[in-house]
Every structure is written in C-alpha cells, then in structure tokens.
C-alpha cells in the first residue's frame, strides 16, 4: 500500500483521523503511537511558537487555557509560510471570535500589540533623525512639512487600556487594579534593537496615522483636533521628535514622491 503526503498531512492536523495508509514499523503494522510523535511535534511546535510570540496573552489567560486556545487556532489556521516569526499574525482576529475568551474583550487587542512588537523587532534597520534636525526648521516650514517614518512603527488602537494591561503582564509594570478603565492607543517602535511600547496621548494615533499616510503637519494636527479637543500639538510634536520615529524630513518645496 502506498502513502501520499496529502493524507499524511490531513491526519497530522486532525486527531480524529487514524494514521495514514502505507506507514508501518518493525513492531506493529499500524503504528499509531509512532505517528502520534509527528502529530505531537507539529502541534506542540506551533503552539510553542505562539507562546513565544504572545507571552502577555498567555499570562492573562493562564498556560492551560492558552495552549488549548492555541491548539484550536493551529488546527484551524496552520501556517502558510516557513517563517515562524510571522506565525500568529491572524491570532488576534481568531481570539476576537473565540467564544471561551468572550469575557476578556481586551484580549484580542493585547494580542495585536504583541504581534506588532515581533514585526518591529525584525523590521529593517533605519537611522532615525536626531531631535536637533527638527529645531533647525523655521516655524513657517513646519506647517507644510511631511515626514518619512522608520519602517518599524505600528499603532495599535484600543477601547481598552491595552498598554497598561500588557505592561503588567510582561513585568514592565506592577500588577494593580485598573481604576480608570479607558481606551489606550499604543505606539510600537524600535529604539536601536529594543522594541519600545508607548501610550499615545489623546489624538496622537490620528495625528501619526495622518502623517504616515503622507499628510503635512498642519493636516495631521487638524485631523487630530477634529478627533478630540484634548489633542495637544506641542506635546505630540515633542513626542514625535524624541521617540526616534522619523527617518527623513520632506520640506514643502520638494515634491513628496
């Protein structure tokens, strides 16, 4: 009897299936336990890859819940690429629809934050401008200025305090009850080789998103002010300059290709 990789692969991902036709051993013609070694390697290896990428999610739900949830995800969404650093990009969307996690409505956004951290970690190297590059500009130039951003930046918006929750679950902040439960927007970026996670000020996410889409400082500030009256341009500009986000300045006279 011959084997084929299609049935072998199906049986790996489906614990209800028997070992595929054509496999054998010197002790037993239907070596279920031997086939189970491969089945276990596949699922455990992929669950481990997710546990490495989503440590805060695992801490929040506990290891047993996480591994059970990840096991369901692995079988429903096996990887499409041999690059394990990318595996789990669609875990946040899965978490959102995973009924047993429904009472943790912030869990998917914490997963989005962790997925963004891995992407930042592996992003292309860039040389951010020093803050002094901004101070050389005339105030009149600032308004029409466009910015070129480093490639490692991500903004994760949430209606839950995801930065606070994330920090408490990776030992970057003391665990404590969250008295003031309000949404937080996270800025994920790289400082050298370290990934930094910051809480954006009100309107900051819209301001940055507008700039990254090619808007001028004036356009981005207007969009942020329309989003919230609490937007503070000076605070956001200072943050922009100090956070090593900007790789280049595009003054108005140069067309922004």
């Amino acid at each position: 009897m011959s084997s084929d990789q299609a049935s072998f692969a199906r049986a790996l991902l489906d614990p209800e299936r028997q070992a595929p036709d054509g496999v054998t051993s010197h002790t037993h013609a239907a070596p279920a336990k031997r086939f189970a070694v491969y089945r276990n390697n596949v699922v455990v290896g992929l669950v481990d890859a997710l546990a490495t990428r989503f440590p805060a999610v695992q801490r929040i739900v506990g290891e047993e819940f996480f591994r059970a949830m990840a096991g369901v995800f692995v079988r429903a969404h096996p990887p499409r690429s041999p690059l394990m650093m990318d595996y789990g990009d669609d875990l946040p969307a899965f978490v959102e629809t995973f009924a047993p996690a429904a009472e943790l409505p912030y869990l998917a956004d914490v997963a989005r934050l962790e997925a963004a951290r891995t992407r930042a970690f592996h992003a292309a190297d860039a040389a951010p401008l020093p803050p002094a590059a901004f101070s050389a500009l005339e105030p009149a130039e600032l308004e029409a200025l466009r910015l070129q951003f480093c490639p490692d930046i991500a903004i994760v918006r949430s209606t839950h305090p995801i930065v606070t929750i994330w920090a408490m679950n990776v030992d970057e902040a003391e665990p404590a009850p969250i008295e003031d439960w309000r949404g937080e927007d996270a800025l994920v970026s790289r400082e050298g080789f370290e990934v930094a996670v910051r809480r954006l000020p009100p309107g900051g996410a819209v301001f940055l998103a507008n700039l990254r889409a090619g808007g001028t400082l004036a356009e981005a500030a207007l969009a942020a002010m329309q989003e919230t009256a609490r937007f503070d341009l000076a605070e956001n500009l200072a943050g922009l300059m100090s956070a090593q986000l900007v790789a280049g300045l595009i003054p108005a006279q140069v067309p922004a290709f």
Partner: protein, 284 residues
Amino acid sequence: MIQPALPPRTGVGFKPDHFEGLIADPGPIGFVEVHAENYMGEGGRPHARLTHLHERFALSLHGVGLSIGVDGPLDRAHLQRLRRLCDRYRPESFSEHLAWSSHGEIYLNDLLPLPYTAATLARIADHVAEIQDALGRRMLLENPATYLLFAESTLAETDFLAGIVGRTGCGLLLDVNNVFVSATNHGRSAEAYLAAFPLEHVGEIHLAGHAASADDMGAPLLIDAHGSPVADPVWALFERVIVRTGPLPTLIEWDNDVPAWPVLRSESVAADAVLTRFGVMHAA
C-alpha cells in the same frame, strides 16, 4: 559552483542567550550554525549579532523549512529568501534535510518522513539540483531521525542518500544522533548503517541529545528532542566515524531546554577532544 567548507573543528547551534558567553569564552568553537528561517526578517538584533559572529567564526546556514521532499514543486519564494541570505552572509556551508515539511499552502513545521523508492529518489534529486542551481553552491543533505517506516520503501536510506549524491554532487550532513535514534526505532544496527554510509561525502556532523519513549508494542522509541546532552552510545558512534574520516566539522545541537553557555561549551570541548584523539588515529 561554490564549494566552500567549514573548518574541521567543533561548532554550536547559536542561541541568542549564548551571545555574550560565546564571544567572551568560545573555547574550541570554530563555527556557528543558525536556522536560516530565523534570519529572514529584514533587520534588527538577529542580523546585527549574526554579522558580528560571522566576523569571528565560520558560519553554517541550516535550513529547516524548504521541504525538499515535498511531492510538488519547491517553494520558489522561499528558495529566493535563502538565496538572499546566502548572498548576504556568504556562509561556509548550507544544509537542509531529507524530509518534507509542507503540503500545498500549509507549512507543517516538522521534518516528516519519506518512502525510499526510485520515484522519490528522482524527485528529491531534482529538487537538490534545483536548490544548488538557485543558490550557486553545493549543499549538504542531512539524514533524518524517523519514527515510522513506509511499506512501499524499496531502498535502504544509505543507498538513497548515496543515489542523491551521485545524481547531484551534493554533500551529506551526517547526524550521528539521528543514526542512533532511527536505528533504535527500527530495530536495526547503527554500526551497520554507518558501515554503509558514504562517509567520503560528509561535509559536517551533527551531535545532539534524544529523549526515550515507547511505541505501540512497548518497544523503545527514541525522540530526536535536542534538549539534553549527547548520549554515550552516540559519542561512541561518533568516535568510530572520526577514526574512519579524520577530523570533520562537528556541531552540537541543543534547541530545547537550552542550558547556560558553559554547559554547551563543555559539550563542544568533548567533541573537540574526539576530533583530536580519534582524528589522529585516522592519519596513522
């Protein structure tokens, strides 16, 4: 075609936690090996460290995701990623496994077994030739650790590997732990396997630890777990290989439950001692 070579010394599979220890106190280390797929991001610390390591040590790029044994075409996008990595680092060796690890669009993240027939030999030889053409270099093909057999197999694994070498000119990566694991799992003699192995084509040796389990009938089933020291019978087989071949580049793999650097370093010291003592017997 480029045919670079690793130095006939001991090396380690590089783990990020060992970076400082490896730089400060490398012991007898002559090369490091990394899994190619872990360095397919664009930038960041992984590349900075690998660049630094390659300034000090020879580099072996070891693929785990190319799925050479796949029953369809090779993943050309992945082959191009490997090409870029080889161009960027110019490693002294590139190696991959006699196994498959993907099916269609799905990547299964394990080294899965193959039946050894004339048809699979022809397919894998074609794939190895395609890889060597795409990378512009000779590759090494590694013997697998296997847990089950295929009823349709007609060739011994050693004849199968020799057949691929004969058709493609590739070299072999002899994983001595895999030899011991597979021989035990299939009730065969590891010594007989090594006696039949085309040692003259070996460009690198792997040593690693395994874990013990049992099969459906209670027979011993060893798992290629890479989470413990190299076992005594594997050291003994390694010594006999080196007597026959002389010193060869020899890697200690420890991928799970990774120990502190001094523990891994002491394994490489032990491998280095074998290369020195038993390599001399080859010369004599």
